[in-house]
């Protein structure tokens, strides 16, 4: 359970976040101010807002966990991002800023026709509307398990914080809150990094920790082998990652809405390029934090399974004997491992190669035994409940934080996780409201003046929050949540990017050509999803290239209408 001092830090931090956003945005009275902060933001705010939007709470909790389990290889996922930022800045950003659009999809009607704009906006609303529920549910689930709170209540609390920020202050509040939230997140991570380093055994510094991590394969950051079914390698990161990131930043309104808040194309570009410059080092740093937690746990007792709810069920269920036997074997093997690692470290320092080899061999044997014990524990969990989630990656970092960090610091980390959850949700919900108002309400002329449109914006925000919280209750049945978000995004992003690239580069293509191409491209992506083993990163490339190629082929048959 959370201690009173940590609860105080958490409550004060959350209140400060909402108030800060509101105070900075209290002048928001018009629609452009509500939707895109009146195009007034300087580039540092844009940069933080863009980065905060992408770094959801799942990222914040799962990335160190990913580093613990799989080492640094996940960093390759971001290799395509800087290239995507450059391409985006050179192509779409100047166009969006010159047109002063509030949503990316407005541009499509100007360039093609109403049906293409509607198709792209509909793809966005469906995909992002469902993802918004998962974005709320995933952190709420982990926080509720760790803190012992009710999951429905945690979801509702997150939803209330988000809606308070957006409805009170609109996009300007979102941008300012992002800047503060992301600073808290980065500061908290940096402080945690130092504390984890200090928790290592006496006499062991970062270089020694890297040796321990490297021996367990946790420092393999770059894999140059080419395997289309492998999720994280250099080529999937550079090619598939490039198309995923370009689609996400260039066609997803939750990101487009962030850089449209900039006061000029220059500020948008600088914000995006700053993101391109720091993203890979930042992800490396967060993964390395997970690797250090892995090393720290090699020298001290660690839970055999990090999700306390599933562990408690197994310990009290019909397979409790198997569970307890596995737990005992785990504790014994891990104690042997810690002893062997300490001796190996001492032998290395003393220059005794024979003793180092001997200790290393004993450590390997203890590690194999510990892994076997964990497999038995996981079997006990799934035997107790066949629907139990046997992946505990998201819980690793939080368990470490709660049991190792000093009073006050735990509250700050929890505030940072709430902040991260709010970051992504705020951008998503602001984008959903913008698209609903600009691409549906305004287009269908449901409002007669700006005051009514502003009222619609607030109503649309409330509607999408209620929808997201409602869908979050259903999200428990979706299985792996991170995977669900990624798959859902990759199903539509490639096609959407194809539409936008056709707009820019296939001069002769008309609305009907690109609309037909998008339908065929989307069908191909669905075939890839259902019938092939291709990793989801490649779907982005396939959807984009097919839409672009088909539109180019159809362009002579179905040309663009001549401008009057």
């Amino acid at each position: 359970m959370i201690r009173p001092a940590d609860a105080a830090v958490l409550i004060v931090s959350l209140a400060a976040l909402v108030i800060w956003g509101f105070v900075r945005a209290r002048s928001t009275r018009d629609l452009a101010g509500f939707l895109v902060a009146g195009h007034t933001m300087p580039w540092p705010v844009v940069a933080f807002s863009v980065m905060a939007t992408q770094a959801s709470a799942v990222t914040f909790m799962a990335t160190p966990g990913q580093g613990y389990v799989g080492g640094l290889s996940f960093v390759q996922f971001y290799f395509g991002l800087p290239i995507a930022m450059v391409v985006l800045c050179a192509t779409l950003v100047p166009v969006f800023q010159r047109l002063r659009v509030n949503t990316a999809y407005e541009f499509l009607e100007a360039r093609f026709d109403g049906k293409t704009r509607t198709l792209a906006a509909a793809l966005f609303l469906v995909q992002r509307g469902l993802a918004a529920g998962i974005t709320l549910y995933a952190p709420a689930l982990v926080l509720s398990v760790i803190l012992g709170w009710d999951i429905g209540l945690t979801c509702a609390l997150l939803g209330a914080l988000v809606v308070a920020t957006i409805v009170l202050g609109g996009s300007k509040a979102v941008a300012h809150a992002h800047a503060l939230q992301f600073s808290i997140i980065l500061g908290t991570l940096a402080l945690t990094f130092v504390l984890v380093l200090r928790a290592l055994p006496q006499g062991m510094g970062l270089p020694d920790a890297l040796v321990v991590a490297g021996a367990s394969g946790r420092l393999a950051a770059v894999d140059t082998s080419f395997d289309p079914a492998s999720r994280y390698n250099l080529w999937a990161g550079l090619l598939g990652g490039f198309f995923l990131q370009l689609s996400y930043f260039g066609t997803d309104q939750s990101q487009v809405g962030r850089f449209l808040t900039a006061r000029s194309a220059r500020e948008s570009r600088l914000g995006l390029l700053f993101n391109g410059l720091v993203k890979v080092p930042m992800q490396f740093f967060i993964l390395l934090l997970g690797v250090l937690v892995f090393v720290a746990y090699r020298f001290e007792p660690a839970p055999v399974f990090f999700n306390p709810a599933e562990a408690a069920k197994a310990a009290a269920g019909p397979h409790a004997d198997d569970w307890h036997a596995a737990e005992r074997a785990w504790d014994h093997s891990r104690a042997e491992l810690a002893k062997a690692l300490r001796e190996e470290h001492a032998a290395r320092k003393g220059g005794d190669a024979a003793a180092e080899r001997d200790a290393h061999a004993r450590g390997l044997a203890a590690d194999v035994a510990a892994n076997a014990a964990r497999v038995r524990a996981v079997i006990a969990i799934s035997s107790t409940d066949p629907n139990a989630n046997t992946n505990d990656t998201n819980y690793i970092f939080l368990r470490y934080v709660l049991s190792h960090l000093p009073v006050g610091m735990v509250g700050l980390v929890l505030a940072a996780i709430f902040a991260a959850a709010m970051n992504s949700s705020m951008s998503e919900l602001n984008a959903l409201a913008s698209t609903t108002v600009v691409d549906v309400v305004e287009r269908l002329k449901w409002a007669s003046d700006e005051r009514e449109l502003l009222a619609w914006s607030r109503f649309a925000t409330l509607f999408w929050v209620v929808f997201a919280v409602g869908f979050a209750q259903f999200a428990a049945r979706l299985g792996s949540l991170v995977e669900a978000v990624n798959i859902m995004g990759s199903l539509f992003y490639g096609t959407m990017l194809g539409i936008f690239l056709t707009a820019l580069f296939v001069k002769r293509a008309g609305g009907t050509a690109v609309f037909t191409a998008a339908i065929l491209g989307e069908a191909a992506v669905i075939v890839c999803w259902k019938l092939t083993p291709l990793s989801f990163l490649w779907w982005n490339l396939i959807g984009c290239v097919l839409t672009l190629a088909i539109a180019a082929l159809l362009a002579p048959v179905l040309p663009a209408r001549k401008a009057a």
């Binding site: 018009d30 629609l31 452009a32 009146g38 640094l72 960093v75 290799f79 800087p82 290239i83 930022m85 450059v86 800045c89 050179a90 192509t91 100047p94 166009v95 800023q97 010159r98 047109l99 002063r100 659009v101 509030n102 407005e106 541009f107 009607e109 100007a110 360039r111 890297l210 991590a213 490297g214 021996a215 420092l219 393999a220 950051a221 770059v222 140059t224 250099l234 006061r263 000029s264 194309a265 220059r266 570009r269 390029l273 391109g276 410059l277 890979v280 080092p281 490396f284 108002v437 600009v438 305004e442 287009r443 002329k445 707009a503 820019l504 580069f505 001069k507 663009a560 401008a563 009057a564």
Partner: protein, 64 residues
């Protein structure tokens, strides 16, 4: 016919929402690129990525 990246005439409906009366479209202002040209800025971002990958590859090999 519109040039690539230069959309044709905008629809009245879209304009009503997107533009404030009397606002100067920001993209039409002449803006100074940092370091003299955007190409130079793009090159720095891509060079930083290449350096990142190289360092990570070195780390992979060093602790393999």
């Amino acid at each position: 016919m519109a040039d690539p990246g230069e959309p044709g005439e905008r629809l009245a409906g879209a304009r009503a929402v997107s533009e404030e009366a009397g606002a100067t479209p920001a993209g039409t202002r002449t803006e100074r690129a940092p370091l003299g040209s955007w190409t130079r800025v793009y090159a720095i971002v891509l060079a930083a990525l290449a350096l990142d990958i190289l360092l990570l590859w070195w780390l992979t090999e060093r602790y393999r």
